[in-house]
Symmetry: C2
């Protein structure tokens, strides 16, 4: 769920502080001071407490004619249980760029509330490279996800209400595809029958709840340019099908206007700060499987008007996250990255080289070398989008010089530089080299970004292109029903949409156990879904869980206030 992987605690000496100790000891500055660093007047900041604020639409409108700053994408090798530290590196690089005199702004995703009651919530970053206030970011924050939940469920209620009062649209009760959402891990709601209890309660039917981050409303909020675009996209969502199988849109239910009103504040980017009091936008948080997994377009595009450098990240590894960032977010927002940073750790490379997590301790240069093929393929893939690459080695205290050297040598052989980064321990002082390299490359203007495939390519060919060029698979397997569905959508005018792959994050293949850089595999497409409002087609290559459950002993059992009124157990 939460892809923020904190630096593993078993790797640090006892004297080190935990993420929450560091975050709680931070010297926060009033949010107006942070805004001032980006030239935002206090009057254009809608404060939420003293350390969070939303940016006014008036201000966003006022900066549209400014030139864009440089855009830096932070992505990673395939994640492993060893931890990569993508968010940590995003934050550390942002601080590093500020430390070398650039105005830099970090843009990351908001965390979902529900999962924090299952497993402990995560920091946004880790060590001395974090975004704060951590506690609020793990709780209600500025209410964006609650607003999305409300907007989503208003539409749900209006659909059943429409059916109740005569069903003028002739909705097929069996084909209502719009479910309900809650920002809670609640497996009991995955599948329900509703409208039971007699005439007054409507027409019984099967349905269910997803977690809020899985809502198409979330994806739309994160891809919309402004409120007008938001409302248009909401209206385009398909909520059901009629008895004649024609789609019923959200706008047929007349919910798009009220949903937009519910979302008008949620649409405004949230400004917070890093531990070093540098600006960070934390806004939006769509799933990285059935959605594109990036923070909001409006936050990124606004930050580009305010800062010399915008450092942002994409979900999962580069095969999923960077590809979607390029082919969905950049394509739709009309933005182009100037440089991409691929985060790798010695430990994760060892795991990609076949070492078990328990055996990561001792030096093992051979395993590092074996695992480097995973990094190599991501480097080649990202370069294929025309984006210059730098590798950031997120340093762990257990890494040996020989292991680090192996990564750096390999990167150089692949035509890129791998820079050792110690932001987890040293904050911005640990990323000065990375920051300088980012600036050097970005200012060269070498990027020639282009998406992987053109809009006009047929949908199935788009899936094949991603599978072959990015996953290096031999073939895509899909039965005739799926192919026919894609053809139907092309005929209905959805053929221009990009593809959003829902595949395991742990492998280039659809088998999470196959690390490294496998070849010769097939990509089976189990299901395709149309997100007509968000504007992409989801190709599902495995099981997708849109409503998590709680574990046997949920974190919630130990979350509480201590005698001095401080939150404990949350992170």
């Amino acid at each position: 769920m939460n892809e923020v992987i904190a630096a593993p605690r078993d790797a640090k000496p006892v004297a080190f502080k935990t993420d929450s100790e560091i975050a709680n000891a931070a010297m926060k500055r009033p949010i107006q001071e942070i805004g001032a660093k980006l030239g935002i007047d206090a009057g254009d900041l809608l404060p939420y407490g003293h350390d969070k604020a939303k940016l006014s639409q008036r201000f966003i409108n006022s900066v549209q004619d400014r030139p864009n700053g440089k855009l830096v994408l932070v992505t990673a090798i395939n994640p492993t249980p060893a931890g990569e530290g993508k968010t940590t590196t995003t934050v550390g690089l942002g601080d590093g760029l500020n430390a070398i005199g650039k105005t830099a702004c970090v843009c990351i995703r908001e965390a979902s509330l529900g999962p924090n009651f299952g497993m402990k919530g995560g920091a946004a970053g880790g060590g001395y490279a974090q975004v704060i206030p951590m506690e609020d970011m793990n709780l209600h924050f500025t209410g964006d996800f609650h607003a999305i939940t409300s907007a989503h469920n208003l539409l749900s209620a209006m659909i059943d209400n429409h059916i109740y009062w005569g069903n003028e649209q002739d909705i097929d009760l069996r084909r209502v595809v719009w479910r309900r959402v809650v920002d809670m891990n609640d497996r009991a709601l995955r599948q329900i029958t509703c409208s039971l209890g007699g005439v007054a309660n409507g027409f019984p039917r099967e349905t269910g709840f997803d977690i809020t981050v899985a809502s198409e409303v979330m994806a739309i909020l994160c891809l919309s340019r402004d409120l007008e675009d938001l409302q248009h996209r909401l209206g385009e969502m398909i909520v059901a099908y009629r008895r004649d199988k024609s789609p019923v849109y959200c706008r047929d239910i007349k919910a798009d206007g009220a949903m937009t009103v519910l979302l008008k504040d949620a649409m405004q980017p949230n400004l917070v700060q890093t531990l070093e009091n540098n600006p960070a936008f934390v806004h939006g948080g769509p799933f990285a499987n059935i959605a594109h997994g990036c923070n909001s377009v409006i936050a990124t595009t606004t930050a580009l008007k305010l800062a010399d450098y915008v450092v942002t990240e994409a979900g999962f590894g580069a095969d999923l996250g960077a590809e979607k960032f390029f082919d969905i977010k950049c394509r739709k927002a009309g933005i182009a990255p100037d440089v991409a940073v691929i985060v790798a750790t010695v430990r994760a490379l060892k795991m990609n080289g076949g070492v078990a997590k328990a055996d990561l301790g001792p030096e093992n240069v051979a395993a590092v070398k074996k695992g480097l093929v995973n990094l190599g393929r991501h480097i080649a893939n990202v370069k294929s989008f025309g984006v210059p690459v730098i590798v950031a080695i997120n340093h762990f205290v257990s890494d040996t010089d020989a292991e680090v050297q192996a990564v750096q040598d390999y990167a150089r052989q692949n035509g890129v530089e791998a820079i050792l980064c110690k932001h987890w321990a040293d904050g911005s002082q640990g990323t000065l080299d990375l920051a300088r390299k980012v600036v050097e490359i970005a200012e060269k203007g070498a990027a020639e970004f282009a998406p992987l495939y053109p809009d006009e390519m047929p949908l199935f060919a788009k899936i094949e292109t991603i599978a072959k060029r990015i996953y290096h698979a031999d073939e895509v397997i899909a039965d005739s029903k799926i192919r026919a569905q894609l053809k139907d959508w092309e005929e209905q005018g959805y053929g221009h949409l990009p593809i959003c792959m829902a595949k395991t994050q742990y492998s280039f293949t659809t088998d999470p156990t196959r690390r490294g850089a496998p070849t010769g595999h097939s990509v089976p497409i189990r299901e395709v879904r149309l997100a007509a409002g968000a504007g992409f087609i989801v190709a599902i290559c495995g099981e997708v869980m849109t409503m998590p459950g709680l574990p046997r002993t949920p974190a919630a059992e130990v979350i509480g206030l201590n005698p001095s009124g401080e939150v404990q157990g949350l992170f």
Copy 2:
């Protein structure tokens, strides 16, 4: 649902402005300035935008040793479709007290989000006696209700999760009494079966959703002194019964700590302002039928430390609202009202005198006189609590002098004064007389407040006492099962709890069509419910709807943003 009844539009000349026009034209002051009027430092206000703020707990703690100001309850005759204007009078009186040189603070309830998408949302007050920002108060406001929804549903998820992982508490699947909530009018969720879909989704069972304001968590938040008290009460809630019929408490599920964390900001009172820039706390909003229908104890008790006068209101008419305010809120909070204002309108008195709504136009002194028995009984009832009474005649432009005079004469015969109030048209200038009278009576210190019944009275006798002394019924009818249930609760240690009557608001009887001051009726108790955390026993005398539905043409269909980005259709 929303008991705020705006002054009816058919009664005003065309030249008058609507509530929303007035509210939108208001000259709002920064919330820090409003706080300063109560001696609150800007650092102790947690801002939500520029016109809303929460009060820090640190500040609340710091004022506990101060003496209390005077407490004024605004209540009303039985509501009719003609409109009484209880909130409007509460706000108008607050402004009037400030206008005559007192520091006065208004304490009212927050509105529920969901119902606004069915019928148009209400103003908090009306005309020139309103609390603003109206739009935010009809939308997410400061997120309190979202926090309550999250806390409630976390417990729901943890109960089903407990069952899923082995059901150590031996919960009887058929006797899970804790439902789920959503702040939306969604009849399809009233009754559902959950946990369908096979082994991974748990054990199927019947359940349903209520609207958030019906949650016991809402009642608890509104009755708790502080966060410690809140957590204790949450822990005391009964969520299910075991196979041996013993109760399972929230604390058995270990949800109380995490729920408290989710509610820690929601527990802090929200400061906003009236149209005349006077302070108003708008905090909490429990149902007035299955709960006690008052704003939060923490807002009222804090306001009493900060202002000379605190003007607050209770839900429905005085038979329900004032009785619960006295017997539940005042009893639990240890506060005592100095004076009560009973709001009446000529129009509503005419309806109590038998006139249909369509015939309210022409002068009809006889009907006013006939309807005054309703007012008379409320006066006597409120006096029986030892609280001095003033009648406020909320003036409508259609009222004639003779009609007003009839009310004033009748009041005088009943030993109280009835004062004509024109706050709807004139703001504070319309309530100067009322304000002076309130001060005169309050400063006399004539109040000798005592609840209607002592804690130690048996539960059924408490119900009989309310029915006979307040409703003037002859008898209470309850079958042996209900009497046995009350006995059981007494044996389990709940005998000291007060009663929360769930009865129609439109009549002293249980028949909503019986206006005036009926006698000789019976009060049938259909069901009793234990709110062990909130600390009251609900006696239900009719149908209680805890999840409203949307109408055929929901207001949501016309809610939207206009081309200049302003919300339209919401109120």
